[in-house]
Amino acid sequence: MSTKKSKWTPALIARTAAAWGIALLLFFPLIFMGFTAFKTELQAIAVPSLWAFEPTLENFHVVNERSDYVQFAWNSVVTSVVSTVLGLLIAAPAAYSMAFSPTKGTNGLLLWMLSTKFMPAVGALLPIYVIFQQLGLLDTKTALVIIFTMMNLPIMVWMLYTYFKDIPHEILEAARMDGASVWQEFRHVLLPLGIGGLASTGLLCLVLAWNEAFWALNLGAADAGTLATMMVSYSSPEGLFWAKLSAASLMAIAPIVVIGWFSQKQLVQGLTFGAVK
């Protein structure tokens, strides 16, 4: 048991090969997309597929000009960042209160919050659409920020609650004994201890908002469209377009996949509402 240095037993070789094989197979579509983004349109549809070619950045320029990438990307950044920050501002006090001064109703309240997540989006689409139309909010970033905040709020409260619960109460009590005000308690005790939890909650919700497609497609069209909406303009073939499609896709997913890699551990806690640790 103590021999940490693994020898290349047949079992280990088989496991390594199988694991790498499966991982590369599942990752393959993204590899293919990555390669295609740097091909010319003619090279992109070559059969059999080319794997050695002179890379070009042409597609990225075209995508940038044709579909106003910067505008869509800006909308994505604004809606996901603002909704995440806003969500944290609402969720953190609630999670703090439930974790440090729980009452009889706390568990019930937590479960009720979870239950709001199960209102299917289509069930809410029509009223929201009509309300936003009346308020003149259709196709605005404000509308998407509101939706994304509400969509992620239960997840945020739950994640922060599980993080805050792990902070030992004694530390807070000691601070109070020493006469710390609520603000000082928050600033010097809770924030430093809870910053990891806040960061990972934020990261996960950033990913969820960035990738949200249902509301973005239905509520944001021209002005407030996010990158998820931009991609739809690439759904119908216009001549040869694979290379441009790939370039646009790469530009739409690259930032968030990287953030996703960093928040993968939190994903488990967040999306299962703490039921799996």
Binding site: A19, L26, M33, T116, F118, V232, L245, T272
Partner: protein
Amino acid sequence: MPRLLLSPAVITLLIWMVVPLALTIYFSSIFYNLMQPDSTGFAGWMNYEFMITNPAFSDAIINTLVLLASTVAITVIGGLAIALLINETFPGRGIVRLLLISPFFVMPTVNALLWKHMMMNPIYGVLAQVWTFFGLTPINWLQDLPLFSVIIMISWQWLPFACLILMTSLQSMDREQLEAAEMDGANYWQKFRYMYLPHLARPISVVIMIEVIFLLSVFAEIFTTTNGGPGTQSTNLAYLIFNEALQAFDIGVASAGAVFAIILANIVAIFLIRIIGKNLEK
């Protein structure tokens, strides 16, 4: 003080839940068609009748359930197999984990377009090339197997999710117990049956429930690839409601459909909340 801290979250969530729900039920009971502004008033069960008798409705329900059941089966069984495979260490395990989880972070519209064009195109697509390589006739995926194609796309996205959750749960297993079982000569099947599976029962049920909630309202993948077609072959409930509301402009009928979707989701949610509620007690 606690109330003051709680109230922003509670109030906003309450509004977010109650207002759309009440309005959806209200819309479903009145005549509300954007193309026929003259017809107004109480509709009774008319919208529901119209929705149910629409032949697309039963197709949509069946498609929704088929999509759900197949995706859950594929992702849970596949995710379980992969999680067990990479539970023990091997060179490059960290990188393999990152590769495996990546599809989950790909936005649905990119996922759909990537598969529709580059993987599933019947002439140039990667799958067509594989089929040709093995001397088979390439499949016209989106035309001939529209629902199955959508299932592939969605499974590609959710397999990493199932895998990651089960993997995390396996890490928390009691190593000593496993080693003791090995000492006692338990074979892999026995370990799987009597140790891994009982340990994974709860995470598996959580994975299933979470997936069900998300998969009941799959939309973007269908919207960007098949548009529900050909015919209604890949129309699910979410897409049908969207179609009724924003293509046929009949808010009343669409709302009746939405009420069905809410009922369906709530049946599932009750089970999930029970499982998670039990966890809270501990």
